[in-house]
């Protein structure tokens, strides 16, 4: 169904936007590195691909006259979510540009802010790219090189958003939210990410592995203690 596909694409874009925001937070801090800049670049490109896909799909549907009224309302709601996501992405990209200019990595005199972060963001990037592990293959001055591309992409994004506004006439204020205040408390389990579910399934698996290992260790420890006690009882009696 078209609706399901749209929702899936939108969820993917949403996920990538969240990961991108997370990574932009780390620029300039001590967890910053060339790897981070490369991750930012890759995530950004993925976000753009998804954005274009979303836009094509949604504009196709919205231009379709044969869609029923409820469906149309639903697609308008998805459109509003999509454009807000794009806005957030654009703002984050601009900030990434500004922060990238302010904190170049290879200059010895410029110090990074000691924010207390020590780990890397590879997990976040892997989640964004939907892969198991991130591969880093860029040159060692990607932080400077990337900035020009970033500028170009920001402009492209701006043009795309402008085009979107002009072509599709969906007034934002007519859309009503489906969720009431406090709706996020009801299901904190991941919903709707089923078909982009490869990464989430693998994540769950990896988490389960860790917890399973722990459980196994504790169980075996308890078992050993029980055996020892039984042996003592047998010996003493």
């Amino acid at each position: 169904m078209v609706k399901e596909e749209c929702k899936v694409l939108l969820d993917a874009l949403n996920k990538v936007a969240a990961c991108y925001r997370h990574m932009v937070l780390t620029i300039g801090g001590t967890a910053d590195s060339q790897n981070l800049r490369e991750e930012l670049r890759k995530t950004r490109q993925k976000a753009q691909e998804l954005a274009v896909a979303n836009r094509n799909k949604l504009t196709g549907v919205l231009k379709d006259k044969t869609v029923s009224k409820e469906d149309k309302a639903e697609f308008e709601r998805l459109w509003v979510i999509f454009s807000t996501c794009m806005e957030i992405l654009e703002v984050d990209m601009r900030r990434a540009l500004e922060l990238g200019h302010e904190f170049p990595l290879n200059v010895p005199k410029k110090h990074l802010i000691q924010t207390g972060m020590s780990g890397g963001t590879s997990g976040v990037a892997a989640r964004a790219m939907s892969v198991q592990n991130m591969k880093y293959e860029a040159e060692h001055n990607i932080d400077v090189v990337d900035l020009k591309d970033l500028e170009k992409e920001i402009n492209q994004m701006g043009e795309m958003m402008y085009e979107m506004e002009m072509k599709v006439n969906v007034p934002h204020w007519t859309v009503e939210a489906k969720q009431d205040p406090g709706a996020e408390l009801k299901s904190t389990v991941s919903m709707g990410a089923s078909s982009m579910g490869m990464i989430s399934v693998e994540e769950n698996k990896s988490f389960c592995d860790i917890s399973k290992v722990l459980a196994g260790v504790i169980f075996s420890a308890v078992l050993i203690i029980a055996i020892v006690l039984a042996v003592c009882v047998v010996k003493l009696s």
Partner: protein
């Protein structure tokens, strides 16, 4: 401030870093308040007080945040730990904190704390739900995704990220009552949530009742009637307006003929007709014109009530006069007008007289206000209508002159307009211009000295 923060990072010359020890995790890059103050003193060679103040400013603007007592954005020069804020969250006017971001933050907090938000946060949450309702679904989606993305990081980093975000929002959306460093000014913030409620006790209700009673007792006029009256009053002034109906000898700004000013000077012998007519519009018009006031005084002398006007003038002098002379003026007013058996005793009702005599003990400018108002109303209701009907006024009207309009020019091009022209360019026609200028020049030496004397 940002450059200072970057300098602080220097591993050799910067602030000394320690590790923050929580239950299991150790997070690096913490510093004590003392370290910060010491570093500032040393780097900028300033006093401790100044360095404390500077440090406080840095904390209040969100570049450093406290770890122990996060809601209290103060720099304490002791062992309390602080940490630097990540550059994304530095306060900047280029990237103001948006409502959307705040909504996402509140949604995340809601999920993490399972609905246990602080009061003002709950209010803001509901408010935002109404205001950005159209993107609320996105807010929820994004909040969930950001939390999931955060799970990919180490525990220490997760704690740091939470602290950073909390500090950022404490600076950008402070709880009600906390000093707001952002100072948005009058327009942006919605101040309905922070209005002070008066404790509704007996006094409050008594005052409300009194106020409503007084409001009901006011005389009301239908707006159609009072607007009509207002329009009529203003229409009286149309023939007097130089722009609407032209001014009679000629407009000095156009013709360079200053007769208009000389004829309407405050102390001229014979007033113009328009001026005398204007005295009939309202009492204040009469009193504000020096000539009118003098004529009114003459009239009152004939009626043996001139002391009213003298009293009023003396009170005006008190109100607008010099501070040093207040006691003196008050004394003279009392002697001449208010003391029993004074030469020019004014007729004020007993209550006002009592109040004025009380007020004489504490002299200030406005002591005579009640009495002055009483006398003013008396003159307005009583003497003024009689003045307008009197022979004196009628003779003034008859004697008043209507200044003749300046003669029209011989050359048809040089019509000097009585009415102001819509655009000065129309007057500047190539042919007659030099002659007009020559004529003006011959007249202005005569007219020019006179207005300077008068004004």
């Amino acid at each position: 401030m940002e450059r200072m923060i970057v300098i602080m990072q220097d591993p050799d010359m910067g602030v000394k870093m320690r590790n923050q020890r929580l239950l299991i995790t150790v997070i690096p890059h913490a510093m004590t308040g003392n370290d910060i103050v010491e570093w500032l003193i040393q780097k900028y060679t300033i006093s401790e007080e100044e360095s404390l103040h500077l440090g406080n400013l840095i904390v209040k603007h969100g570049y450093i945040y406290p770890l122990k007592d996060p809601r209290n954005l103060v720099l304490r020069a002791d062992e309390s730990p602080y940490r630097f804020q990540t550059p994304y969250f530095w306060t900047s006017t280029k990237w103001p904190a948006t409502e959307l971001d705040y909504a996402i933050y509140l949604a995340k907090k809601n999920i993490r704390k399972q609905g246990d938000l602080i009061d003002h946060e709950k209010d803001n949450y509901n408010l935002l739900h109404k205001r950005i309702n159209h993107t609320w679904d996105f807010v929820v989606m994004q909040a969930r995704e950001q939390l999931r993305a955060a799970k990919q990081r180490r525990k220490g980093d997760r704690i740091v990220i939470d602290c950073q975000e909390q500090a950022y929002w404490l600076v950008n959306r402070p709880p009600p009552g906390a000093p707001n460093v952002m100072e948005h000014g009058l327009k942006q913030r919605n101040c309905h949530t922070s209005r002070v409620q008066l404790t509704k006790n007996m006094d409050y209700y008594k005052r409300e009742i009194e106020y409503c009673r007084k409001a009901m007792g006011r005389t009301r006029v239908k707006s159609s009637i009072c607007l009509e009256g207002y329009v009529k009053f203003n229409e009286q002034y149309v023939p007097h307006d130089p722009i609407m109906s032209g001014c009679l000898p000629s407009n000095p700004w156009i013709t360079d003929d200053t007769t208009y000013w000389t004829m309407n000077a405050p102390t001229v012998m014979t007033p113009t007709k328009l001026r005398v007519e204007r005295w009939g519009f309202s009492f204040s018009e009469l009193l504000s014109d020096a000539l009118g006031r003098a004529q009114f005084m003459e009239f009152l002398k004939k009626e043996f009530s001139a002391e009213n006007l003298s009293f009023w003038e003396a009170c005006e002098e008190l109100r607008y006069g010099e501070q040093s002379r207040i006691a003196e003026i008050m004394d003279s007013i009392y002697q001449h007008f208010l003391a029993p058996g004074a030469t020019r005793w004014v007729n004020i009702d007993s209550k006002t007289m009592e109040r004025t005599l009380e007020g004489l003990k504490t002299p200030h400018r406005y002591v005579m206000d009640d009495a002055q108002m009483h006398i003013y109303m008396l003159m307005k209701k009583d003497s003024y209508p009689r003045f307008l009907k009197s022979d004196l006024y009628k003779s003034l009207l008859a004697e008043a002159i209507i200044p003749p309009e300046t003669k029209k020019r011989v050359f048809p091009f040089m019509r000097k307009q009585r009415h102001s022209s819509p655009s000065p360019a129309l007057l500047l026609l190539p042919g007659g211009e030099p002659e007009a200028k020559a004529e003006d020049k011959s007249r202005t030496p005569v007219a020019a000295p006179v207005p300077e004397e008068e004004s």
